[in-house]
Amino acid sequence: MVVCLFMKLELKKISKFFPGIKALQSVDFSLKQNSIHALLGENGAGKSTLVKILCGVYQPDEGSIHLDGQKEVIQDPTASLNLGISAIHQESVMFDELSVMENIFIGNHITKSNRLVDWTSMEKKTIELLGNLEADIKPEEKIKDLSIAQRHIVQISRSLVHDADIVIMDEPTASLSQKEIDELYVIIRNLKKQNKSIIFISHKLDEVLEICDEFTVLRDGELIKTDLISNTNKDQLVTYMAGREISQIFPKKHVKIEDEIFSVKNLYKKTQFKNINFNLRKKEILGFYGLVGSGRTEVMKTIFGINKFDEGEVNFKNKNLNITKPKDAIKNGIVYLSEERQNLGMTGLMSVKDNINMAIMDKNSQYLILDKLKDLQNASELQEKLNIKVSYWSQLAQSLSGGNQQKTVIAKWLSTKPEVLILDEPTKGIDVRSKSAVHEFMGELVDSGMSIIMISSELPEILGMCDRVVVMYKGLIKNILEVSNTSSEEIVKLASGE
């Protein structure tokens, strides 16, 4: 057996300062060969800064980086690639209109002696790479036709082409279904067998416990703990990350559920979904679980009036609703919070106040002129309630932090005083503390008389928050289960079509 004298990668006393902020404060980090190392911390803990230093985007202000015992300076992203460090980002940097093969070899094309691109060997190499990863993707497929999981695999192949020894994965499972996650795990374990070291960033502690060997927790730019995964458990990790014990991640309030308020009958839309039947009771949280592409979001968008359905009916308070556009839904008290909050929720270049009031401008105005007092009242009320951190009202929404942007979008919807709130992945990509705040808030909303439909891909969240769960598979509702009366195994089975 070869004894490893050096760590694969060692960061010694790394510090990075930004004006007014200590992003990293003399952090030590060491990564062993063939190890999967979890990098944990809340949003703003310093994970991204650390990754950016490794990728050569930032230079550390203090400290040194050692690779295989050798001191290195990573000047720019190219240097990082040459040293064998490759990062797979959350928002993938890929070229939608190019093929899988071209994306894998981008900037690194194999050429023939006459300097023309050698397509044949590139295709051969691609098939070999994808074969090693046991992925069912063809080299000539366009990236835009691939699922998110397949895109991750292409990115992984790209890092293998660069012969990377260290692969950094930033929340690779954030938008994957359980089945795809399992497939990704297989690939990650395969990489480990090939002597790679992996830095794995994730907010999902269950998967960290399942797949990783070691962990490092950062909080407010400082190193809190680094240890073997086998020496810890979930509660302990949460405590390390939050700096306090979060007794309950899902602080579900006990609320007495009342009568049916909303129902959907035989909803059908060609090629997307059919036979959609469910009802929602007042003060209930109804979960929607299913793989990505099972039609959950499509059903909700149709109910909200973004798309039109072909057949079926939507009833609200014993009245048949004819919703053809979002305006109708909002008027009736049904609102939809999209999972794409940047693209579909916010107007980044308008002020925070305008964003909060956007949906109720006609109510706050007379003869088309905005009543500034009402406008300000509504905004301040919600700002206080949700604790949105804003320095002045004309501040542009895009200058807020991610969490505050999400709160602004929620404020926009709450100002319409909705009765049915449809939340699409409300906690995707946010840290433990904010997550718990969102959950607590959902409990308060239900308590105050609202009904909530929540789409989520996280089973613990569904089991912790919902009263009932609708499980979808390929555009069909497989079953509707009482959460108190089911298990995660049953839900996963239904969701994968068994």
């Binding site: 305006k327 929720g345 305008d354 956007m358 949906a359 401008m361 105005s365 905005l370 320095s391 501040q395």
Partner: protein
């Protein structure tokens, strides 16, 4: 203690320097100063008033075009709509219709052309630049095939005096119309929720749709409005020229878009102000008037306009570039 959030950040004099409107105003001032130094005829009141005839018709369309561009659309067919509406104006006069009917039909023709643009754009979800490149040729082609090598030179007295007369002997009607409309447009855009919605659509159309704003309806209305304003401009222009050929207002669409973009309206939508556009209209007007007084040929005016556009729009970026160089 309750934390009160101020409406705006603390006032800083320096921030005004970065305002597009301020930069444009300075450009306008310097053009006036230079012109009045170079030519003794520039600051003559009658000359100045008459110079407004050069841009008033375009300026009227620039106002509605500002709305279209802020809503992340573009309309290249406006000049061709002028051709169509002018033909309708000439034709209805030639068959002896009453003046009020002539005006109504002319305006209707513009509204229909604009509505046609809007309908195609929202019904088939085709980008407006493509649709209006198409209708630019289509409408112009209609005018050509209708008039062939003929021309109209008889218009109702009312139209002729609209195009060439002055209120109280001082203010040209076209210019007066432009000033009144610009106040009205500034009010709509900056003071009403319609304006807020147009900004919101231009910033993020999808998000606007998800917020319950009827994006398609707004798009349709804005294109129809653009058609109507083209027809209004057609009335003033025909009255002023007293002659309509199918090539009337040829190439105006780009001059109008230049007015809007020079006024600081972001070409990808979502930002801009009527004040900026009005100043920019005066800049272009005073520039071509001044250069005209100096007998600079048309080509020179075009070159100056191009340079001015790049310089004033690029100004903030230039400052940033040189600052980062110096660091």
């Amino acid at each position: 203690m309750k934390n009160i959030i101020p409406e705006n950040p603390p006032f800083k004099l320096l921030n005004i320097l970065y305002k597009k409107e301020f930069i444009l105003f300075m450009v306008l001032l310097s053009i006036i100063l230079i012109n009045s130094n170079v030519s003794p005829y520039f600051l003559d009141l009658y000359n100045l008033i008459d110079s407004t005839f050069l841009f008033s018709e375009k300026a009227i369309i620039a106002l509605s075009m500002t709305f279209v561009i802020i809503a992340r659309q573009i309309d290249l067919s406006v000049a061709s709509i002028i051709a169509v509406s002018s033909c309708v104006l000439g034709y209805t006069t030639s068959i002896g219709m009453d003046t009020y009917l002539v005006i109504i039909f002319t305006l209707l023709s513009g509204i229909m052309c604009g509505a046609f643009n809007g309908f195609i754009i929202i019904r088939f979800a085709i980008p407006s630049i493509i649709v209006t490149i198409g209708t630019m040729s289509l409408f112009r082609g209609l005018a050509y095939s209708f008039l062939e090598d003929q021309y109209y030179n008889k218009f109702p007295q009312f139209v002729v005096s609209l195009g060439s007369d002055y209120l109280f002997g001082y203010i040209p009607y076209a210019f007066l119309t432009f000033i009144i409309l610009s106040l009205f447009f500034a009010f709509i855009l900056h003071k009403t929720i319609i304006g807020k919605r147009i900004y919101s659509i231009g910033n993020n159309p999808e998000s606007a749709q998800y917020t319950g704003i009827q994006v398609d309806k707004y798009t349709f209305v804005l294109f129809t409005l653009n058609g109507l304003f083209s027809a209004i401009a057609a009335i003033f222009l025909s009255g002023r020229l007293s002659s309509v050929r199918p090539n009337i207002a040829f190439g105006w669409e780009l001059e109008i878009i230049t007015m809007v973009v020079l006024g600081g309206v972001y070409i990808y939508g979502g930002s801009g102000s009527i004040l900026g556009v009005v100043i920019s209209i005066f800049i272009l007007g005073m520039l071509s008037f001044g250069l005209g007084l100096l007998n600079v040929p048309g080509v020179g005016i075009i070159i100056f306009t191009g340079l001015l556009l790049i310089l004033s729009i690029g100004f903030p970026s230039f400052i940033k570039y040189f600052r980062s160089k110096n660091e």
